[in-house]
Symmetry: C2
Subunit: 131 residues, 2 copies
């Protein structure tokens, strides 16, 4: 826990890697993570936790298989929008034009969940890196 405030814009300027979350701070046993994203992540699900998204810059899309019989839909988050993916729901974030996002989830949560499609090379399967 940092004894001084962290400016998110400065924190984002400290790394370039896409789909590779950095842990900005912790709240009890939860992480606050930030990531730069562009293109598509991978279909995955977190079986034991909800996952919170806040868009800091750009536009994030999240495809969800939460319909009857797993029917797909997509939600669109402009800058300043928040959304929670409920535990167990298969989802795939994407950002055709790039985005910066903030996430809130229990420490140790994998970026690709417990169930996922084959992880492509551009996606970092991680529990978050130090900033």
């Amino acid at each position: 826990m940092n004894p001084e405030p962290t400016e998110l814009a400065a924190a984002l300027a400290r790394f370039d890697q896409l789909w590779s979350p950095r842990i900005v701070t912790t709240v009890n046993d939860y992480d606050v993570r930030i990531a730069k994203v562009a293109g598509e992540h991978v279909w995955h699900a977190h079986d034991h936790t909800d996952e919170f998204f806040l868009v800091l810059d750009g536009e994030l899309r999240i495809a969800l298989r939460d319909g009857t019989d797993g029917a797909e839909r997509e939600v669109v988050l402009p800058r300043g929008a928040v959304f929670v993916v409920p535990r167990g729901v298969e989802h795939r974030p994407s950002a055709p034009d790039g985005a910066s996002i903030l996430m809130f989830e229990p420490s140790g949560t994998s970026s690709v969940g417990e169930r996922h499609d084959e992880v492509p090379g551009h996606v970092d399967a991680t529990t978050g890196h130090r900033l």
Copy 2:
């Protein structure tokens, strides 16, 4: 949990009361709350949880008694800055020129903690209201 994204600017436009947090969404057993603030809150402490702040607009100040023998200091959070007040630390948020903030904390957490000075009339002692 809302099945659609929530734009924080629109959510903030739905209420005017100061120091009266609204619950935007939940993440497991945590709330994501937003509040409009101006002037001073009250000195208080949360004995059982850390408290996360993100400044959405304006500037937030947080006075802290976290020094040796409870010595006071103040941190200043511009727009886009985050800070975590560790559990047990007496603190008093303020915003001389007004601010909008987002908080993460366990559902049921009181806005004035377990220990607090006398709560002034302009501060809402609440576990958060529905948006």
